[in-house]
């Protein structure tokens, strides 16, 4: 039982140290370099398999190739797909207009064919002409729990089910959680959610079981392009900074890091990203802040209100008092 304001007020200390570990191992995390993501969803599959995460609903969302939708209790990795009429660096798209068979065109009610951005698959016999001025890029990004330095979910959990591991990650203990659901609206990224089937919350554990035996998380292991890189956070941050420089040199000026700054609203994310557009385009909040940063102010106001109520209710009984 501990009076615990440390997580919220720990400043820039290492989260595991702030969480009470005397000599924790190096803090680990993910660097997700979305510029090399090919949208294969191997990470989603590997995560489901390793962690026995149940099926999350078989839906057709109509959002490009994303049928997962968002992170949730049963989706601990989520690959976002964004199609944009923009050039990626100096890349030529070599996209070609697709020629639809006449009857298909008719059944489309005379509407013009819409390119999904897939390179045309017609035979190279002259039917296909390159659309020279058609810029296109396809952004893909594998999202995951950020394992925040100042984690709102962990701060607000009333049972202590959410805890800080020695690796600096944030994990739910299923046998302690009572499903109060407080962590769900507390997370500034909308990561953690309640699973209706058992009433408990769940999210990425950064493969706590694998870390404990010196293995890298399942998603990073399975990523064929090394878009998901696992390692010690300090080293990942250096590597990421170098990658941004390289991309800028290659003309991809839209490359930027997200969640890598220890000064940001959550004290820096344990899982950070290299993005090619604004965070909100990927469904990420542009400037997330851990809600408990304002908690001292909230407690002060609530205390003030309580004292005010006590005084006011005492005062209204004074006129006409008989004793």
């Amino acid at each position: 039982m501990a009076l615990d304001l440390r997580e919220a007020t720990g400043g820039e200390r290492d989260p595991a140290t702030a969480g009470g570990y005397a000599e924790p191992p190096e803090r680990v995390g993910f660097f997700t370099d979305t510029s090399v993501c090919i949208g294969c969803k191997a990470c989603e599959v590997a995560c489901k398999e390793w962690n026995a995460v149940p099926e999350d609903g078989l839906l057709f969302t109509g959002m490009s190739y994303d049928n997962t939708g968002s992170l949730g209790a049963d989706s601990w990795r989520h690959v976002a797909f964004i199609e944009q009429p923009r050039r990626l660096g100096r890349q030529e798209t070599h996209l070609a207009p697709t020629e639809l068979p006449p009857d298909l065109l008719r059944s489309a009610g005379g509407r013009t064919a819409v390119s999904l951005g897939l390179p045309a698959s017609a035979p190279p016999d002259g039917h296909v002409a390159a659309a020279a001025d058609m810029d296109f890029r396809w952004l893909m990004s594998s999202d995951v729990c950020k394992h925040c330095t100042h984690a709102a979910c962990l701060d607000v959990c009333p049972t202590g089910a959410l805890f800080r591991t020695e690796f600096g990650t944030v994990v739910v203990q299923e046998d302690v959680c009572n499903g109060c659901g407080y962590c769900v609206p507390a997370c500034p990224y909308g990561v953690i959610d309640k699973r209706p089937s058992n009433g408990l919350v769940s999210k990425c554990t950064l493969c706590y079981d694998r870390l404990s035996v010196g293995q890298e998380p399942a998603c990073a292991k399975s990523c064929p392009t090394d878009s998901i890189q696992f390692g010690e956070l300090a080293e990942l941050r250096e590597r990421a900074a170098g990658r941004v420089r390289d991309l800028h040199d290659a003309g991809v000026t839209s490359a930027r890091l997200y969640g890598a700054d220890p000064q940001d609203g959550v004290g820096g994310a344990g899982a950070f990203f290299l993005l090619l557009d604004e965070p909100e385009v990927y469904g990420l909040p542009p400037d997330p802040v851990v809600t408990t940063r304002d908690l001292p102010a909230m407690w002060r106001r609530a205390g003030l209100a309580a004292v005010g109520l006590l005084v006011a209710l005492a005062a209204v009984t004074i006129p006409g008092a008989r004793r």
Partner: protein
């Protein structure tokens, strides 16, 4: 559903069948559906209009109901203790009974809303000041038995000394029970609840005082009803004035307080509360009028909590309320950096 905005043909005749223009616009207003998004005023960008946040997985009757019952119970206990100390036994007794019923109801709601109700005692595994729910659980664990004791003794006339202890204890703890619920919902990423954290405790205690005063008017004989009437009026004025200020200050983030289900409930709440206060402040003392006013105030207090609850949920569901203020914050910071390099 949303389609790609990448097309070979940019003819203006193209039908637009999407909710959000990926990476360049957000979800259009309902009445704009079918219009071309290129002319949409929505300036923020989003991922297919999907929410950034997860909505609270709470049932409105449970949690909004609890916000009301907790406020009613807490303020009633305090008013009861003050009434007892100033020689108004029947007002005190009625309020104590009301507080006990309300707190029993709120405990039921809280346990009922858990994913695993049988594990509700896990709340008392730890004490965490970073978690208003943890502090609230301990508050209720202390306040609940005291309020029960006070009510039990007052109704049965037994154990007067323990009853007095319960009355005073619950009277002192009551305001904390009524006020902490504001911190409870503010300490989330839900835009409306979080941004309203400065006013919400005042709004909640005002509403609590109004409902407790109204309850007192319903249970006490006329000659003991003075404090209840004053509490109800003071509470109503505090609530209405602070809620008004809150809605104004929040600006764009406060939109859900004016629109949709949340907005409708809040408007109903304000009308009921103001109407009730008017009925109670008329110079003529009329039993029917007083009772009607008191009932209106209690209904107004209920509508307030449900309105705030639904407005919060609506603000979490629409990415606009998450993205726009954060974007503005970022731009303001960049601007101030540019000014002093």
């Amino acid at each position: 559903m949303s389609h790609t905005d990448v097309r070979l043909d940019t003819s203006v005749e193209l039908p637009v069948e999407r909710d959000a223009l990926i990476g360049s616009a957000g979800r259009p207003e309902r009445r704009q559906r079918g219009e071309r998004l290129m002319v949409s005023k929505a300036e923020f960008r989003s991922y297919y209009g999907q929410p950034v946040l997860k909505s609270p997985p709470w049932q409105a009757p449970d949690i909004a109901g609890y916000l009301f019952l907790g406020g009613l119970a807490g303020a009633s206990s305090t008013l009861a203790a003050a009434a007892e100390l100033t020689g108004r036994p029947r007002l005190a007794r009625g309020l104590k009974a009301g507080a006990a019923v309300a707190i029993a109801g709120s405990l039921y709601s809280l346990v009922h809303d858990l994913g695993r109700p049988e594990r509700f005692l896990h709340m008392l595994r730890v004490v965490k000041v970073t978690s208003p729910m943890s502090i609230g659980s301990w508050l209720l664990a202390g306040y609940g038995p005291l309020a029960m004791l006070a009510a039990g003794s007052a109704v049965t006339g037994r154990l007067p000394r323990l009853g007095r202890l319960g009355t005073l204890g619950a009277g002192v703890a009551g305001p904390a029970v009524a006020a902490y619920t504001a911190a409870l919902i503010s300490d989330t990423a839900v835009p409306v609840w979080h941004e309203a954290h400065a006013e919400l405790p005042i709004v909640f205690v005002g509403s609590a005082a109004a409902s407790a005063g109204a309850l007192g008017l319903l249970v006490a004989p006329d000659r003991e009803a003075g404090p209840a009437r004053r509490a109800a009026l003071l509470g109503a004025v505090t609530e209405l004035a602070t809620a008004h200020r809150m809605e104004r200050r929040l600006g764009m983030v406060g939109e859900p307080l004016r629109r949709g289900l949340g907005g409708a409930l809040l408007r109903a709440s304000h009308v009921l509360m103001a109407g009730g206060a008017l009925a109670l402040s008329l110079p003529v003392r009329n039993r029917v009028l007083t009772r009607a006013g008191a009932v209106a105030m209690i209904a107004g207090s209920i509508c307030l909590r449900f309105g705030i609850f639904h407005a919060g949920v609506a603000s979490a569901r629409d990415p606009k309320y998450t993205v726009t203020p954060q974007r503005e914050r970022l731009e303001a910071r960049a601007e101030s950096r540019r000014r002093r390099p």
